[in-house]
Amino acid sequence: MAETRYTKDHEYIRIEGETGTVGISDYAQGQLGDVVFVELPEIGKALSKGGEAAVVESVKAASEVYAPVSGEVVEVNSELEAAPGTVNEDPAGKGWFLKIKLKDAAELESLMSEAEYQDYVKSL
């Protein structure tokens, strides 16, 4: 059973074995507004927790997407290049950004659970 964990910057990571799928939360896509462009990293790039992993752009804003955990980029969602609106329509599903091969699973513990994240969003 896949588990999803969240950062305070509204990235999620869905864990499936040794890899995690990274995207932005539904709350984040709502705050950004219509996504018009997504800049994805190269496959094989080593990311460190909290470092820049991708950039997501709306008409009037560009926001960095940070790596929730350290690891190597093993896959990117290149369909977002042609259809960036997918991030708005299905952020948790087809609107994912990239997959990371986890370096240190212990890093996940510092992230929020689904329930904790929902409480966090309500507090904003």
Partner: protein
């Protein structure tokens, strides 16, 4: 009755319905196609005689392909561009309270002067013996700028504000390198409220950027700056008056702290219009400051340029000013155009642009300064500040002031906390102003304030114009707080065009006209 022509003498009954027309035009508002849709490649609006046969020297480089550019005859071109002009709002149309942009009256005397053939029809590289008046004009402009800023030198050539920023920061970088600190001093402090050009400029020339937090009162505190100082700090880029419209109260202390730490003070002079003739940046400890001639000294904005961004420099930075510059020796001006020709003591850091900068803007700015004189420029700044504070006083009870503890300078900043719960956003409010015949204020800038609305009326407005503007904004504010959402949702209703789909423009960029492709046969 005597109306034998059958002419109705009464106005028809008023109606709010949007009557569709056959053409799509609405009286003076004409739908205007692109030149590519109305022009023809064989048409030209310029008559040029065909040359007698001659032997080409183009070699193998002669163009083989068609240009594909349509032409229009002169009457067609005239009508096309006049119709386009009618879809634009300018200062001459009405109040243009665009904060940070200083949209003041553009006197036509300045246009007339810039078009004198002795200025406009002079080549930048014709013999210097044939352009003494051009050098005289540049020297006179320099004298005015140095006197108004209290600074000993000015680099005239930068082409706009951001280009001036780059020039000033390059002079700072060169000065640091000359002291042998180039490898270590590479961080520039930029407050969060700064114009985007400041961090962009610092990054452009190889500095990294560190942010200075804003105090809750909208100013930068000297303690916050001091806490960041160290041997790695090259400079601070500070706008004064700042982008919240406040004169930085601790600016002298901040300058002193920078100098004590071996660093420099770059001042963004975009808001100089508030203090011309009232305070001199040189007295405040500034090392470099660009001056937007297209803001403070009224050269027209022209739909986004051209501007001009001369940079005044302190004694410490003056030797590093870029070429070209005018060196006066024995009372005679000498134009120094290359680093190799620089006189003793000068170490120009390089060149910002081909030729000598924005001569056409120099003429206009000097015409403005000669017209106003020292007394008029002081009065203009005072009126600009007075007008901004008058608007603020007229709206403060309805709209929210994020920084009520300081007087505003030439612009008044509001935030959107007063709109909370109304369902109306800053953008909606701005668009509703369009329907009322105003250009909106600057919105969503500075970034340190939520839903910012930055109002800069300039000195060009009469009290009657300000009173009507205040009454209009009060009426809109009441409507937003009341239940009259129709004025906001979907506004503007009366502009030549409704709100545009910017998402579509960015997702599938169409950046030039292309001929419509014929629809493919369904059978294919």
């Amino acid at each position: 009755m005597l109306n034998r022509q059958g002419r109705p003498t009464q106005a028809g009954a008023a109606s709010h319905e949007d009557h569709a027309t056959f053409t799509g035009n609405k009286a003076l508002q004409q739908v205007e196609p692109l030149i590519f849709e109305i022009g023809r490649t064989e048409t030209t609006g310029v008559d040029i005689e065909q040359p007698a046969p001659f032997k080409s020297r183009l070699g193998s480089h002669a163009r083989q392909s068609e240009l594909g550019l349509p032409g229009l005859s002169e009457p067609e071109a005239m009508r096309h561009y006049v119709r386009l002009s009618q879809k634009n709002y300018g200062i001459d149309t009405g109040l243009f309270p665009l904060g940070s942009c200083t949209m003041k009256h553009n006197a036509r005397l300045n246009e007339k002067m810039a078009r004198l053939p002795g200025f406009s029809d002079v080549h930048p590289l014709q013999p210097l013996s044939t352009v003494p008046g051009a050098l005289e004009l540049m020297l006179e402009l320099a004298r005015y700028l140095m006197t108004l800023t209290g600074m000993p030198a000015v680099a005239l050539s930068p082409k706009a504000g951001a280009h001036g920023e780059a020039c000033g920061m390059m002079a700072i970088k060169a000065a640091i390198a000359a002291k042998g600190e180039g490898a270590t001093r590479n961080v520039v402090l930029v407050p969060e409220s700064a114009h985007g050009t400041n961090p962009a400029t610092a990054a452009l020339i190889g500095f990294s950027v560190k942010s200075v937090p804003a105090r809750p009162d909208g100013t930068v505190a000297v303690e916050d700056v001091k806490a960041l100082l160290g041997p790695d700090i090259a400079a601070i880029m500070l706008t004064n008056p700042n982008t919240c419209g406040i004169f930085e109260p601790q600016i002298v202390e901040i300058a002193a702290a920078m100098h004590e730490a071996g660093a420099y003070f770059y001042c963004d002079g975009a808001n100089f219009n508030a203090i011309v003739g009232k305070a001199r940046p040189g007295d405040l400890g500034v090392d470099a400051m660009h001056i937007n001639l297209h803001k403070t000294f009224s050269t027209p904005h022209g739909g986004g340029g051209p501007g001009a961004g001369p940079v005044v420099l302190s004694e410490r930075l003056a030797p590093f000013a870029p070429v070209p510059f005018i060196h006066v020796e024995d009372g005679k001006p000498h134009l120094i155009e290359t680093r190799a020709e620089a006189p003793e003591g000068n170490q120009p850091f390089g060149r910002m642009t081909a030729f000598h900068g924005q001569m056409g803007m120099y003429v206009r700015a000097l015409a403005y300064m000669l017209s106003h004189g020292s007394d008029g420029m002081k009065q203009a700044s005072e009126d600009a500040v007075l007008n901004a504070n008058y608007i603020r006083a007229g709206l403060a009870d309805l709209m929210s002031l994020p920084f009520p503890d300081h007087p505003s300078m030439h612009e008044a900043l509001f935030d959107d906390s007063w709109l909370k719960g109304t369902g109306v956003s800053t953008l909606d409010f701005a668009k509703a102003m369009i329907d009322e015949g105003y250009h909106p204020m600057t919105v969503y800038f500075p970034l340190v304030v939520h839903g910012a609305m930055l109002i800069e009326p300039t000195e060009s407005e009469s009290k009657a114009a300000l009173d009507l503007f205040i009454a209009t904004l009060r009426d809109l504010a009441m409507a937003a707080k009341g239940n009259d959402k129709e004025r906001f949702t979907g506004a503007p209703h009366h502009a030549p065009i409704r709100r545009l789909d910017e998402t579509r423009a960015a997702r599938q960029p169409v950046l030039k006209w292309t001929e419509a492709q014929p629809v493919k046969d369904a059978a294919e």
